[in-house]
């Protein structure tokens, strides 16, 4: 005797939603809890290494928007000295072409995604602001060496069925100023 046609579907559905009551919620409460982002994220900023940069301006040429502005002069050892390196992140579309084109790995995409500002002028980043710091970390985009050092991304689909819950690595409140923020 098949029960498929006697309203058993309703009972099945009710049982399923009842089981959901005992599952941990899937919600990530964003400002307090953060998932680890992709290692190859093209975050909302760039990281510039002044010691590696030769001032060749390949990045500026490859930029479809013309956002990168480089001013150089010739130094004592017949090299370029970078006077000005400015990126207008307000017009940047984060395509990553500048990072891919850099022959000396002097430019990298950033890990950050919380870079909203109140004024457009604040989005134009100068030479000093673009350098590596605590809150400005490079992502592994087109940089396999950096990628190897970064923690793996936490995905909502990596759900541990045996433990009946979500295996998510969250960035707790205390590490708010750390990597990826």
């Amino acid at each position: 005797m098949k029960f498929e046609r006697y309203g058993i579907g309703i009972a099945k559905g009710m049982a399923l939603t009842f089981k959901h009551l005992f599952r941990p919620p899937i919600t990530v409460q964003y400002p307090e809890e953060k998932l680890v982002v992709s290692r190859r994220i093209r975050g909302n900023e760039l990281v510039w290494y002044p010691d590696r940069c030769t001032g060749c301006a390949t990045c500026a040429k490859s930029c479809p928007q013309g956002n990168i502005e480089i001013v150089t002069h010739v130094g004592e050892e017949n090299n370029y000295v970078v006077d000005k390196f400015e990126v207008d992140t307000g017009r940047c579309m984060f395509c990553g072409l500048c990072v891919e084109s850099c022959p000396y790995e002097a430019l990298a995409m950033g890990l950050s995604y919380e870079r909203a500002q109140y004024r457009r002028g604040q989005l134009v980043l100068s030479k000093e602001e673009l350098q590596l710091s605590d809150v400005r970390q490079p992502s592994g985009y087109a940089r396999p060496k950096i990628e190897a050092t970064l923690p793996e991304q936490s995905l909502l689909v990596n759900w541990d069925r045996e433990k009946g819950g979500q295996k998510l690595s969250l960035v707790p409140l205390s590490k708010k100023r750390g990597r990826g923020v």
Binding site: R5, Y6, L16, T17, F18, L21, P25, T27, Q29
Partner: protein, 369 residues
């Protein structure tokens, strides 16, 4: 004698007669309305949290510990909103409709016994009063739909009237089964007669009454009149601010009132071991509401024709058969054997539901009408 009547007699010993008559009435009204509105707040919070848990979310948890002040914030937000009246709508009806929806629902609580004697008015026709007064809300919904001068609101109002009229019949017929067993229409008498809760004695009647009332209070899966994928928000499309809040409160008040009525009719009201009676009453009411939210979280909305055929072809004949069976049992079964009745009725309910689902099964289990 109810608690309010005792209070009145006690006052009459020292106050003039008119004051002793009026004061307990005012006190009773204030207590009942305060209970209803407080419980509505609790229900709104409870439903939002519970729906969240059913959908593996958290639900509102920001305002206050575990988000308990969220309903208050929602109420303040709604109060501060602009009150918009459609330019070509019927202004008077538009203003009147929320009251006509909300007030009858509050009036149901006048005959709800919270425990022995704790009842505002112990009417001897209590259940008839409930059935009569709760149907008035449909008029308010129709007024709202008409006054909005909006096609979606009017469609929703048509649906509401059709739905309430159709589901009133099985609901009343399943109430009759209870009344047959008790031999009284008073809600206090009905609770007093339930040594075994009527959910065990009349499982089929309970199911019919429950589904009928869920349809009457316009909740999912019978919430066709506010089906947002078809007709925006239904009859309250054109409502905002406090008037919308009245509809919102009215809906939850309706849910609370019918949870109380289901508790009284089928779950033996305030009766229960160990715990105080009022606590038992509250536990049962919240449990009924839990099931309503559970159904809302699970089942998708019915189609209009499915809704009507479910009322007229499923619930109504089943309610009539249930009434005849209960009448026969009351007439011929000896009262000393209630458990025989429990077994017989459960078997009967199972067989009847199987038979009816068979009747409505065509083509691969799809319900055709």
């Amino acid at each position: 004698m109810t608690l309010l009547e005792q209070f009145q007699l006690w006052l009459a010993t020292m106050w003039p007669e008119w004051a002793a008559y009026v004061t307990p009435a005012i006190v009773g009204v204030v207590i009942v309305i305060a209970f209803a509105l407080c419980m509505v707040m609790v229900f709104i919070y409870f439903e939002r949290r519970l729906l969240g848990r059913f959908q593996i979310r958290l639900g509102p948890n920001r305002l206050g510990p575990e988000g308990i002040f969220q309903p208050i914030a929602t109420a303040v937000k709604i109060l501060l909103k602009e009150d918009i009246v459609p330019a070509k709508g019927d202004k008077v009806l538009h203003w009147l409709a929320p009251l006509v929806v909300f007030v009858p629902v509050l009036m149901i609580f006048a005959v709800v016994p919270f425990w022995e004697g704790a009842i505002f008015a112990d009417l001897n026709v209590g259940i008839v009063y409930v059935v009569a007064i709760s149907s008035v809300s449909a008029v308010g919904i129709y007024m709202a739909g008409w006054a909005s001068n909006n096609k979606y609101a009017l469609i929703s109002a048509f649906r509401a009237v059709a739905q309430v009229v159709s589901y009133e019949l099985p609901v009343v017929l399943s109430i009759l089964g209870v009344v047959l067993m008790v031999g009284s229409l008073s809600l206090t008498q009905i609770v007093a007669a339930q040594t075994i809760p009527f959910i065990l004695l009349q499982p089929l009647g309970f199911i019919i009454f429950f589904l009928g009332t869920v349809a009457e209070m316009n909740r999912s899966p019978f919430d066709l009149l506010e089906a947002d994928s078809e007709i925006v928000a239904g009859f309250h499309t054109e409502y905002s601010g406090m008037k919308f809040a009245m509809f919102y409160l009215g809906e939850y008040c309706h849910a609370l009132a019918y949870s109380c009525i289901i508790t009284i009719l089928f779950l033996s009201g305030w009766r229960g071991p160990l715990l105080p009676p009022f606590l038992w009453f509250l536990i049962k009411v919240v449990a009924v509401f839990f099931v309503i939210v559970w159904i809302r979280a699970t089942l998708p909305r019915l189609r209009v024709d499915q809704l009507m055929s479910f009322a007229w072809k499923c619930l109504l004949p089943m309610a009539v058969i249930n009434l005849f069976v209960v009448a026969a049992e009351v007439l011929w079964l000896p009262e000393s054997l209630p458990w025989v009745m429990v077994v017989v009725n459960f078997a009967f309910a199972g067989a009847l539901i199987m038979l009816w689902s068979k009747l409505f099964t065509l083509g691969g289990g799809r319900v055709e009408v």
